[in-house]
Symmetry: C2
Subunit: 317 residues, 2 copies
């Protein structure tokens, strides 16, 4: 009988679940709200009861499962199966996630951080085409990433994949990490808006983006991309600057690791081919000639499903 896998993607607003085959095909999926009340004390019990409820519903037994894999925010101790300091879950203290889930579901449990898990998802079943060498960058509220080399996630001493904190501008914008000029300060959703506000001050031509900002209207990264696509001069300058930094970061990832694919996902990547083409322009400029030919930039393909799929794949290694 074919055995199945459960993938769990734990986020600050929802917890996504899926039951997958060993080949990574999603057979069932569902989600619940994340209840972060009481220092997040309900989260792990909610995960357990949701899994047990669905196994009952589908008339499945723990023995039918290879394991449960989960992606989590915060600092993950993979060996001990604990999570510390996941502030969007209100988890300040260390949570014994693995211990409780294994005890209460009778299924083997594996955990890694959410950016790594999304990277694995795209590498396995998405834009990474199951290649052994894939880098993943997610452009959202922050900028995160994950690196797969020789078919395995790179953890280093623990914090590998901090793509958002690669320096792209010495003495650039101040970052939440305390450093200056991190990629995240320019290329996250808030970073794009920051660049827009900054460049608007010096800009004196004709621009809708400029008028909206001067008007005090709320703008988002999407506003900037949409206006740039409609040839707004300032918006185009902003996107060009953001993509310049992303292009340098991708080139440096390429020069260092020469992966088959650098996959770009996250909310900001909804800007699609327009974003990708602008990044590629600078990637081509800064990548080593043989890297330019062999490392390909791609948009993520799995969207919200990358998390559960990647989480499931944790159980297979």
């Amino acid at each position: 009988m074919d055995r199945k896998i459960i993938g769990v993607d734990l986020g600050g607003t929802t917890i996504k679940f899926a039951i997958l085959t060993e080949n990574g095909d999603v057979q069932q999926k569902w989600s619940i709200e994340t209840n972060i009340l009481d220092d997040g004390a309900h989260i792990v019990p909610d995960i357990v009861s949701s899994i047990n409820h669905h196994l009952h519903l589908y008339q499945m037994k723990p023995e039918q499962f290879i394991g449960i894999g989960m992606g989590s925010p915060g600092t993950v101790d993979r060996d001990r199966g604990t999570v510390t300091g996941a502030y969007n879950l209100n988890w300040k203290d260390t949570q014994e996630v693995k211990k409780i889930i294994e005890q209460d579901t009778k299924i083997k449990f594996t955990i890694d951080n959410d950016a790594n898990v999304a990277a694995l998802g795209e590498q396995w079943k998405g834009a990474g085409e199951n290649d052994t060498d894939v880098a993943f960058i997610t452009l959202g509220t922050g900028v995160g990433g994950g690196i797969v080399s020789n078919g395995a996630l790179v953890h280093g001493v623990g914090a590998a994949g901090e793509v958002g904190h690669m320096n792209v501008e010495p003495d650039g914008y101040l970052c939440t990490c305390g450093n200056r000029g991190c990629l995240e300060t320019y290329a996250s959703a808030t970073g794009v808006v920051r660049v827009a506000r900054d460049m608007a001050e010096e800009f004196s031509g004709d621009s809708q983006l400029k008028s909206r900002l001067d008007d005090g209207q709320e703008i988002t990264a999407k506003t900037v991309f949409d206006l740039a696509k409609r040839n707004d001069l300032l918006a185009k300058m902003v996107i060009d600057r953001v993509c310049h930094y992303l292009g340098i970061a991708c080139a440096n990832i390429g020069n260092l690791l020469n992966p088959s694919f650098i996959v770009i996902g996250g909310g900001v990547s909804a800007a699609g081919a327009f974003l990708l083409n602008n990044i590629e322009k600078y990637f081509e400029k800064y990548a080593f000639p043989s890297v330019r030919k062999t490392t390909h930039l791609r948009l993520a393909q799995l969207g919200n499903e990358a998390g559960v799929v990647g989480a499931a794949s944790l159980t297979l290694s």
Copy 2:
């Protein structure tokens, strides 16, 4: 009976050989000159006869060896065991290195490029303390590198480890690779001199370095480091700039891979702790806080032996 390994480090002027134990202890070593005449046609036969001669001398048989590992310049095809375009060896066409060496020594042969092999040597028996995650940067005529993650060399599609071509200055110096602002253009032996000449032009204070350059005296990277150590103002400014770029590159390697150690070797690293401290200053500034605490910069320890030791280790994986 303990089996042995042969490590070969093929360079443009000498070929170094060593016989090592499985634990990487060097038991015998010797070297021969590299004869690059006749399109480098003598090189592989010279390697074969030198190995066979020494086995005869030490009364050893092919069966006593796990294998021969070799580091080579040029583009190495590891699966086929061939080398293409190693211009300092006069090898323009593809050379069937593995085929000939295995046939004529009766010992299994493994090959990788010289920077990767030196990285493996330092990772295994040098400053890397046999850790699973080590990055290596060599500062010589050029700047090269090698990355070990999860205990294995990262090759990517083939060209991983091009640390010297990481971009550190958009629109900076033109590099031999055709791009601008590659680390190599500032931090190689010739790069340091280039920075010195450039900064001397704008410099108007009191400086021996400036006088020597204005005098038309020949200067090297060593001259610049030596003068900086003796507090020459311009020399200190040059080293500060070079180490700023090296610090950014090391920080970005750290942010991406979070290795236990980033090991700095090659001729320029003879400048020792003075070099390391100046790089660390900028590494601290640009590395992500947790990376700053867990990734340590170190000077290489094996010197010229890194090549044969790392080459030998190729036979063990």
